[in-house]
Amino acid sequence: MKIDSIESKTIVIPIENIDTDQIIPARYLKTTSMDGLGDALFFDWRYNADGSLKPDFPLNQPGATGAQILVAGDNFGCGSSREHAPWALLQFGVRAVISTSFADIFRGNSLKNGLLPVIVPPDIHAELLHWPGLMLKIDLASQTVTLPGGRSVEFPIDSFAKQCLLNGVDELGYMLQQEAAIAAYEARRVGSINTLQ
């Protein structure tokens, strides 16, 4: 799940508050694996009732083939905590989403899977929404998005998440290395830790 830079044209879905029920409807969460989720991505927006593609949906347009950057409206990924949403985006081929803000749980889930949530200022965002298919370069080390003409803009990212993505750090492994501290906490805890037994 290492990321350094992503160079791709964009797909644009110019809608605000895209919730994770749209990204992947609940009926596709009955799986116990991660297989096949990319096919269910944006299912109800992407397919007609007879299973054919809706030609006007951005993911179905010819320019979307191979695109790795999705540009979407404000507050992307709100609603349900389902991690199937970033899994489905990644399986479809999306490696970064650009917006003006992300819902907290979606942002956290994305970073844990190597899907980059990129926040840009409203003026740049408006330009990106207006011009689907722009070729962008996203560089994680310098935290920049570069537009075709060379203009670039910085984006914020949590420094720990950045190091994990750049170096491929396994977060659970990092946590388990702190076993001694966890055991010490359990021993020094003021007040009981409730137990079910």
């Binding site: 749209q22 409807p25 991660m34 609603g79 905590s81 819902a103 907290d104 749980i105 990092y174 830790i193």
Partner: protein, 474 residues
């Protein structure tokens, strides 16, 4: 005073819970915080158990982990098999995972089974001052007890199973103060729908809500749970209410609540939790409960709500072009005309249930409206208790007979029609009045259209066959 004699910095309840759960703080990394209670369900845990298996890890604290089945679990009679093969396989996998890893599971046949956010409080598992997580965004429900409770993704479910900890950065505290007193026919659900309509569904991003003020203090525990439950619909991962006597009275004597001397010690600790005078909030919203009306949503996110006497907004009045197009898109999906009232709009289905409104007090409120009345002949009404315990209580009180006599279905416990993955769902084009928490496109079934409202409004609408103001049914 601190040991060195300086005045202690005033802290919010969120700061206090955070401070007492920091396991370690490494430079350049988020804090490692300890999790007191981990709730699991069948939909967001299987891949986490697979991770444990692949890495040869155990569940570190099975004694702090509890599992149930609710999301993909049908609400049909328990003596029937599960019709949907994929759902059945997921449920079978949950049994297998819990058995293999030693996690206590309240399965489909258990009298403790129910929606994960209903059973925690009802069994006394949810207690003040705790950190509580679940792979579900409505975990904020448990905040009603003064716990820091929030939803996590499946990767983090794996982290908590393996380490009982999470890497976290602190959130800002956002005070939502509700002054005044609710008028008859207006409920906790209307408070939270009004809050979300005010701040929008991204308004609390990066924050934890602390609900304060006399109107919140006056709420029962079950009503506080309804308010906290929908914190995520305002963008906040967590929302809480500081504990008070209402909290302690609710908890005392419940199965997993402390007993005897341990209870006294716990209450003494819990009384230290409320926010100190002068503690700074990052943001604040003040609302007057006395002016609220029953609320109902008209659009495709929970922030698109209006008072029941209000009119559907007109997109052309929106100044921001994206806001305008989102409103147009929502009204097109809902097939509603701007400028018209929502009250009186025909409905096909009424759903009383979900982790927002499926507790005994919700069923009692709905039954009080239904008693001696009939569900409109054009309406299908589902009443789905949040847990087997709620169901049992409702039957003891004769509420099931009131619902059935009125022509409603009284089903087994589960998430049911909140999210259309267990067989209970809307048909394309149908309208529902629903006591659940989300009105997103297709949330209750592909092509279905949802009006979110309180149990009182839902019951009144079932009788009228249209969106109805419960105050007209006195």
């Amino acid at each position: 005073m601190t040991p060195n004699g300086t005045a202690a910095k005033p802290r919010t309840i969120v700061d206090k819970i955070w401070d007492s759960h920091v396991v370690s703080q490494q430079p350049g990394a988020p804090a490692l915080i300890f999790i007191d209670l981990h709730l699991c369900h069948e939909v967001t845990s299987p891949q986490a158990f697979s991770t444990l298996r692949q890495r040869g890890l155990k569940v570190r604290r099975p004694d702090l982990t509890i599992a149930t089945m609710d999301h993909s679990t049908p609400t049909t009679s328990r003596d029937l098999p599960i019709a949907d093969a994929t759902g059945a396989a997921q449920i079978a996998q949950m049994e297998k995972n819990c058995a293999e890893f030693g996690v206590r599971l309240y399965n489909r046949m258990s009298d403790h089974q129910g929606i994960v956010h209903i059973i925690g409080p009802e069994q006394g598992l949810t207690q003040p001052g705790m950190t509580i997580v679940c792979g579900d965004s409505h975990t904020a429900t448990h905040g009603a007890f003064g716990a820091l409770a929030f939803g996590i993704g499946t990767s983090q479910v794996g982290h908590v199973l393996a380490s009982q900890c999470l890497l976290q950065t602190p959130s800002k505290t956002y005070e939502i103060r509700v002054d005044g007193q609710l008028r008859p026919g207006v409920s906790a659900k209307d408070i939270i729908l009004a809050v979300i309509a005010k701040i929008g569904i991204g308004g609390g991003t990066g924050c934890v809500f602390e609900y304060t003020g006399p109107a919140i203090r006056a709420l029962s525990m079950e009503e506080r749970m309804t308010v906290c439950n929908m914190s995520i619909e305002g963008g906040a991962r967590a929302g809480l209410v500081a504990p008070d006597d209402t909290t302690y009275q609710y908890l005392a004597g419940r199965e997993f609540a402390p007993k005897g001397a341990e209870w006294d010690a716990a209450v003494a600790r819990w009384k230290q939790l409320p926010t100190d005078q002068g503690a700074p909030y990052a943001r604040r919203l003040v609302l007057d409960a006395g002016v609220l009306e029953p609320m109902v949503t008209f659009g495709t996110n929970p922030g698109m709500g209006i008072p029941i006497s209000g009119m559907i907004p007109t997109p052309s009045a929106a100044t921001d072009p994206i806001e305008r197009s989102d409103l147009e898109k929502a009204l097109k999906y809902m097939a509603l005309e701007p400028g018209k009232p929502l009250a009186g709009h025909p409905v096909d289905v009424v759903f009383i249930g979900s982790c927002t409104n499926s507790r005994i007090s919700d069923l009692r409120a709905a039954a009080a409206v239904m008693k001696g009345r009939k569900v409109n002949s054009k309406v299908r009404m589902l009443v789905v208790p949040g847990s087997q315990q709620v169901r049992k209580q409702a039957i003891e009180e004769g509420l099931d007979r009131i619902f059935r006599t009125a022509g409603a279905e009284f089903r087994e416990a589960g998430c049911s029609m909140c999210l259309a993955m267990n067989g209970d769902q809307l048909e394309p084009g149908q309208y529902s009045v629903s006591t659940s928490n989300r009105n997103f496109e297709g949330r209750q079934g592909k092509g279905g259209r949802t009006f979110l409202a309180s149990p009182l409004t839902a019951a009144a609408s079932a009788i009228a066959g249209a969106v109805a103001d419960p105050r007209t049914l006195a």
